[in-house]
Amino acid sequence: MMLGQALRDQQRELTIFRNRLLLSGFLIIVAFAILLGRFSWLQVVQREYYHTLAEQNRISVVPVVPNRGLILDRNGEVLAANYSAYTLEITPSKVANVERAIDELSSLIDVTSRDRRRFKKLQEESKNFESLPIRTRLTEEEVARFAVNRFRFPGFEIKARLFRSYPQGEVASHAIGYIGRINDADVKRIDEQGLAPNYKGTDHIGKLGIEGAYEKELHGVTGSEQVEIDAGGRAIRALSRSEPLSGNNLVVTLDLRLQKIAEDAFQDYKGALVAIDPKTGEVLALVSKPGFDPNLFVDGIDPQNWDALNNSPDKPLNNRALRGQYPPGSTIKPFMALAALEYKKRSPEFTISDPGYFTLAGVPHRYRDWKKGGHGLVNMHKSIVISCDTYYYGLANELGIDSIHRFLSSVGFGAPTGIDIDGELAGLAPSQEWKQKRFKQKWYAGDTVSVGIGQGYLLTTPLQLAAATATIANNGVPVHPRLLKAVQDSKTQETRVVGPSVARDAVVTNPDHIALVRAAMVDVTRPGGTMAQAGAGATYAIAAKTGTAQVVGMKQGEKYDEKRLKQEHWDHALLIAFAPADDPKLALAILVENGKHGGSTAGPIAREVFDYFLLGKKAVSKKPLDPGSDDEEHD
């Protein structure tokens, strides 16, 4: 019985076991069917969706930054170039303690305090997730040393990048300008112009000069590369690539050698020089002294250098050629003479007897000539040669300010010349209307008298003076000064020459008037003229006019005594000139700050530039510029 019971139990248990095993088998089939359903859903129905997700995961499109175009002078000398170098960059958001990480880094590779200061400044100006350079131009050895220790520096990355370099350093820095890191204002501008896609991956942009003005030509077209990335965001390999299109090379009108000669000729003086081809408007030299080294700006300037440049009393960052507004002094006289001839207020023969001063009818004030006792009998020719003030006091008074304004405006004063780089100032060619608007004051006859000798409200930039001088040299036909000569298209390999702009109407219609002024300006450089010394021995004819611009005003009857004045209050020396006088190849305007007399300081600079340009010779022995050597020609 017991045994039977046990056996039956055993049999019952076996049945239960087998039934339950069978049930389990059924459930297992159901479970696998569910899995199979899930796999089918993922791999058949949803396959496209997940395929897209996987591709998005693995593929990232990275921009390929184009090479920036080169800047060459008219003879092919390189003014701005690119070189490839390694930089070490930090993404601050990926580093817990940037300061400490840099400390640690400096045990591996050199990090100067200048690097640190520059980095700190960059960090303040940038967003946290941007990659910022801590060191540039790493040597191969430094790269290797860092690579070995890379694991210690998360958020640090070595990058091979193209750098901008300005091999000429300070030379022509104001014309070439520089590139710098893109800042918020740049980003806004790029966005507004719809160029944002083309600037992906680019972190530098032209800021000033040619670099700034021709950014579009120089930048090129950004390419792209599809890269496969891993989950950590590292690029594994390139899948496809659309090549970037390099920026176009620019050939500028500058003649580097002439530019150097001109800059050197200034010696230690501050000032500006603009040299223009009077037939085409091409600017062959554009000097603003002192200059600066544009290389400092490329990767963010460090605060120390920035302060030195920005706070220097010499204002090296100020482009005096375009932005310096000075009274033209006596250099305005040839234009005044032309205005009087054109408006028939003076004939060439009209002669005054100069007592050494001028008075307006009914006013006791005496407008003095620079020469006590006067120049005797003075006609128009002589008025230019000896720079007679009295002659022009009367001439201006008879022309009236609005005629003067009209003529000076026609030769380009009082408005930007439209040169193809930014930042140019307009100067000032005053008129009655202007004074009313500006000061709510009536124009007085005395105001006009001062303008007659280039003082008073009249202000010009050296560039405007050069352009106006070129107009005389070009027989009264104005030209647009410009810096771009040709564009070497990187796509077609063709060179597009920038032709002279649309021919303009002559502003001086009578060739005799030009001939008269030109002849007088030639005599300025001959014995008896105000630039006789600097003109001596020239094998070609130079036409010129000297000038002086007061830095501090003087009271009536006070005598200008340079010994009592600090040097920074000495008068500025000015000069306009062109040569050869009969077939002008070069027109100049020169400003020498605190150079006192146009003939003595600016004259030798002009002579050196002309000698080099026309004869190809360099000054053999350079005498220091001496502002005091021609006292008697105090214009």
Binding site: Q5, A6, D9, Q10, E13, L14, I16, F17, R18, R20, L21, S24, G25, I28, I29, A31, F32, I34, L35, L36, R38, F39, S40, L42, Q43, V44, Q46, R47, Y49, Y50, H51, L53, A54, E55, N57, R58, E228, I229, D230, A231, G232, I236
Partner: protein
């Protein structure tokens, strides 16, 4: 001579089961090679070594008579239990869990021993009480099961606890636990869930929430599931080809050679590969059930059944988790995932199955 040696070696090996196992293991090796980057043999060779050891263990356990195994069962269980207590008291903490015990000579994970120990001891218990099981026997069995599972849950190692609970539950279930009790247990669990919820660890709660909505935390807890479903889904019907899975090769799939190796497999071999794998698993399970059904003693049949069903649980939980229908618990894909311990315990299990399959004639005679 050679055939006699071959016969000696293969005497205790079940041919059909071994064939299915060998195919699956070979497949596993190729996937491990791919999942380790497809350029270095280091992992594949390492897995090969693990495999050699595990196959030897399989062979060894296949030689051991089930009766001997039964006699050893209580000792194995007690040893395992004391080691688990040792872990709770002196265990090493790694990755925030106390699972390892340093024995001076070697570091062991005692929960692995219990994967075999629990079903053996329960089968042993029911075998001894075969004259007629009462409710009391099931209650005792429940305690025997609850002790190690509770200790492992506390480590915490929810995945392993679940598998050990499953293996024990299968023995009890196959032994004939009444449906009434099973039904009321299920009701109890359903009722207990709201109370268990606050007792769970943060990461465990997160895993369950993540399953419900992986996009809620796409870079954190949801990342695993999102990337593995992308991998499987993008594989399509035919797969991207061996070594060509972008998700896997570019490191988007986390733990791709261990717990998430199915994502690599599904991406590179597609739906076809998954079907082949499921068929292989089903063949193994079917053979295991045949062995269990034909086993001659209560101990043998309960052990064989529990081992087979536990194997199924391994496969299903892992595949469900990687394809996003079950929460993420640390369970490797049996015989495919890289790792020696899991492989060893699974092949030891199959060794016991083979022993049961090949020793039954002796018992019945």
């Amino acid at each position: 001579m050679i055939s006699r040696i071959f016969d000696m070696i293969t005497r205790r090996i079940d041919g059909p089961l071994m064939a299915a196992l060998a195919l699956t293991l070979a497949l596993g090796l190729t996937v491990v090679y791919s999942a380790s980057g497809g350029s270095s043999f280091e992992r594949a060779v390492g897995q090969g070594r693990n495999l050699a050891l595990a196959i030897f263990a399989l062979w060894l356990f296949a030689q051991i008579q089930p009766q001997l195994l039964m006699r050893l069962a209580p000792a194995v269980y007690l040893a395992g239990l004391s080691l688990l207590i040792g872990v709770a008291l002196f265990g090493e903490v790694r990755n925030g869990a106390r699972r390892w015990l340093n024995l001076g000579v070697t570091v062991v994970q005692p929960s692995e021993i219990m994967k075999i120990g629990v079903p053996l001891v329960l089968a042993w218990y029911f075998h001894r009480r075969e004259e007629g099981l009462r409710m009391r026997d099931f209650a005792i069995a429940a305690i025997v099961l609850a002790l190690p599972v509770g200790l492992i849950v506390r480590q915490p190692d929810l995945g392993t606890a679940l598998l050990i609970f499953a293996s024990g539950f299968f023995v009890i279930f196959l032994a004939g636990l009444s449906w009434k009790v099973i039904g009321s247990m299920m009701v109890t669990i359903a009722v207990a869930v709201p109370f268990l919820w606050p007792m769970m660890h943060d990461y465990q709660r997160k895993r369950i929430l993540t399953l419900l909505d992986p996009m809620e935390d796409p870079l954190g807890a949801g990342y695993h599931i999102i990337q593995s479903t992308i991998a499987i889904g993008s594989g399509g019907v035919l797969g991207k080809g061996w070594l060509n899975g972008t998700q896997a090769q570019l490191d988007f799939v986390p733990e791709r050679s261990t717990d998430f190796i199915l994502a690599v497999f599904g991406e590179e071999f597609g739906l076809v590969g998954n079907i082949v794998l499921i068929i292989l698993y089903m063949l193994i399970i079917a053979r295991g059930m045949m062995i269990a059904a034909n086993a001659s003693t209560v101990f043998s049949r309960l052990t064989a059944g529990a081992i087979t069903l536990t194997f199924f649980t391994y496969a299903f939980v892992n595949m469900g988790m990687v394809s996003g229908i079950l929460p993420v618990v640390g369970v490797p894909l049996p015989m495919i995932s890289y790792g020696g311990t899991a492989l060893l315990s699974i092949l030891v299990g199959f060794g016991i199955l083979m022993s049961i399959a090949t020793h039954k004639q002796l018992v019945s005679s």
